[in-house]
């Protein structure tokens, strides 16, 4: 099973940023909002990780990643909650804003050549005992700490949505905000918190790209992961477990690139690069309509009171 362990490890590695971003989008879509700016949050998180890690190591790197994501989230909240602007257009603009701002700051702070940057990265941590398991041990339980956080998030979110008062309130807003408000829920406050969580998780997703994978930053390195995460939420039927499965599927598809190339399958490499995007299209065509989206999803918010 020499080939399987690296494949599983690559699957987990590529799934983690997708899962983190998709969990963030899941929380947001459950309150009925949709954030195309998630892509921008992931990218801002990656740049924040670069800045933080160059200044003071991995921990500051993750701090910078969260700050980057939250910055985009705060702007999204300002436009969508405060101004009641169109979510799709505001989100698209925020992604552009993030692409432009990170590109400009990167070129001016790190040189237009973007020289090879040696920044501290997050080392894999083998869980004693579990990492000795045959086949999966080395792949699944010898990962950077952020991966273990992601493992915990899936069941935590599933439990939180189904079993806690706050989770139910969140879902109620996504279905019937007027009814939720009548039941005494502070609708806009919960929406704001969901947007914030979306920014934190989107930023962390970008942080893992830099700190746990690439060890460097490149302009536009989010490469559509934020958009794919939005598709994963649809694919996962708006449930925490479904989203987890969706993220793993995309991780596996990306990992297949390496497997195919290692097997010497002769095809233009652009085909491999295009696989995640083609898979998204195919998956969406198959998934939409099977699960019911939150009833209020994507609708424009009524004016503020």
């Amino acid at each position: 099973m020499d080939a399987l362990t690296p494949f599983l490890a690559a699957t987990v590695r590529t799934s983690v940023p997708l899962a983190l971003a998709a969990f963030g989008e899941l929380l947001l879509e459950r309150v009925g909002l949709i954030n195309i700016g998630l892509e921008g949050a992931v990218l801002a998180g990656a740049f924040g990780a670069l800045v933080g890690a160059s200044a003071g190591g991995v921990v500051l790197g993750y701090g910078g990643a969260v700050m980057g994501g939250v910055l985009i989230a705060v702007l999204f909240g300002a436009f969508v909650l405060w101004l009641r602007a169109d979510q799709i257009i505001a989100g698209t603009a925020l992604t552009l804003l993030s692409i432009g701002t990170t590109g400009t700051l990167y070129r001016s702070w790190y040189g237009s050549a973007g020289a090879a940057l040696g920044i501290p990265t997050s080392a894999p941590f083998a869980i004693p005992g579990l990492s000795r398991l045959p086949l999966i041990g080395a792949a699944v339980f010898t990962q950077p700490p952020i991966t273990y956080l992601t493992y915990v998030l899936a069941p935590l979110l599933a439990w939180w949505f189904a079993r806690t008062h706050a989770g139910l309130a969140l879902r109620a807003i996504g279905e019937r905000p007027d009814a939720a408000a009548a039941a005494g829920i502070h609708v806009d406050r919960v929406r704001a918190l969901a947007i914030l969580a979306n920014g934190v998780l989107g930023g962390l997703a970008g942080g893992t790209l830099v700190l746990a994978q690439a060890g460097t930053f490149a302009e536009g390195m989010s490469a559509g992961r934020g958009f794919i995460a939005i598709a994963i939420v649809v694919l996962g039927g708006w449930s925490a477990w479904g989203v987890t499965a969706g993220a793993l599927l995309f991780g596996a598809a990306s990992a297949l690139q390496y497997a195919f190339q290692a097997m010497g399958w002769r095809a233009p490499y652009q085909v491999f690069l295009a696989i995640p995007y083609l898979l998204t299209l195919a998956a969406l065509a198959g998934a939409v309509g099977r699960a019911r989206p939150p009833a209020f999803l994507g609708r424009s918010l009524p004016p503020r009171r």
């Binding site: 436009f79 505001a90 969406l284």
Partner: protein
């Protein structure tokens, strides 16, 4: 409905002025902030921005207007789609496949002395068809499966980039196989240059004609009315207006893709003369800002396309002359979109539009 027409008109004019003012503030604030944070000289940057865009006749024609041509076509494309409630974020991909199709036709057609004009028309038609088909994938996904077109068109953008990358390293690579680009098209296929206007080509006239016709269709015809009715409130359009919502949105989507594809064809025959990966510096994304700032009105796309052409040209000059990253222009675009969205939100104020559910378009 209590306001008189005159007062409504005054309010409209005022909101236009507010938009212009806010847009200007957004540009200046975003630019100055990033220049200061990046440690650049604000003065050098603004001087380069001006001289590279509007500072001379050469800059106006060969830099600003040359860039305004693709922005005009893609801007109208986005305006038509958004008007129908179709969020086509895929103009960039449609432009790229349009350019690829124009390349294929230009290189494949045997040249006879008289055939230049015919081939140009064929190449442009192929570009429009290719762009329409590329948008058609997303249109079918929306109509048949209810897939949110925002996501599908973005995915198709990525696929188009990789497709062009494959073409220029594979089937259409230039004969020496040294560079990742296609062979240069024959000179008889170049769009004619406009006299006394440097690099400016006849594509400008074509783009203006398209804009004029599109504006007329949107403003004055039944098809344009259906477009707007569906975009404003699909339920009301279907029940009160007896409009086939699905057909209207699909047609708008295809027309939008065709125009964006045509932009790619014009760019290829008028400016680049060969297919390569970075053929478009993101015209398809800038088009969103162009269209939104024009209030989704094709006629008003004309001035905004020139404005953004000037910004793109000026940004190039800032990079060359003052070493300021050209990505700054993306920030400005984003700031302008947000300014337009803000004005729109303030204008609508107490008039919510509860009709649209954007995640799953009604199949």
């Amino acid at each position: 409905m209590s306001a008189t027409p005159r007062r409504r008109r005054t309010r409209l004019v005022l909101s236009q002025i507010a938009l212009a003012a806010l847009a200007l503030v957004a540009i200046v604030a975003a630019t100055a902030f990033l220049l200061l944070v990046g440690g650049y000289s604000v003065r050098d940057g603004l001087v380069a921005l001006w001289s590279g865009s509007l500072g001379s006749w050469y800059a106006i024609t060969s830099a600003t207007l040359v860039r305004a041509v693709p922005l005009l076509c893609t801007g109208v494309a986005v305006a038509i789609a958004f008007r129908a409630g179709v969020f086509n974020i895929g103009a960039e991909g449609q432009l790229l496949v349009g350019a690829a199709a124009a390349t294929a036709v230009s290189l494949a057609t045997p040249l006879v002395a008289w055939s230049g004009g015919v081939t140009i028309i064929l190449a442009l038609a192929a570009a429009a068809v290719a762009g329409g088909l590329w948008a058609g994938v997303a249109a079918v996904l929306r109509a048949r499966f209810g897939v949110l077109e925002v996501i599908s068109t973005i995915m198709l953008n990525f696929v188009a980039v990789h497709f062009v990358s494959y073409l220029v390293r594979g089937p259409v690579q230039e004969p020496t196989h040294a560079y990742p680009q296609s062979a240069t098209i024959a000179e008889s296929l170049h769009l004619p240059r406009l006299p006394g206007a440097g690099r400016l080509h006849a594509g400008l006239l074509l783009a203006i004609a398209i804009t004029a016709v599109s504006g007329w269709v949107v403003r004055r015809t039944a098809a344009g009315f259906r477009l707007m009715a569906v975009g404003e409130n699909p339920d009301a359009a279907a029940s009160a207006g007896q409009i086939d919502v699905g057909r209207t949105t699909t047609r708008a989507f295809l027309a939008s893709g065709a125009l964006a594809g045509l932009a790619g064809g014009i760019e290829l025959l008028g400016v680049t003369f060969a297919l390569y990966e970075n053929l478009s510096p993101g015209y398809g994304f800038t088009a969103i800002a162009v269209a939104l700032l024009a209030g989704l009105d094709p006629w008003r796309v004309l001035p905004t396309a020139v404005l953004f052409g000037a910004l793109e040209a000026g940004a190039g000059a800032m990079q060359r002359d003052a070493g300021i990253p050209s990505t700054l222009v993306t920030v400005i675009e984003a700031a302008l979109i947000l300014a337009a969205v803000t004005v729109q939100a303030l204008r609508l104020g107490r008039r919510p539009n509860p009709g649209r559910a954007s995640i799953a378009a009604e199949p």
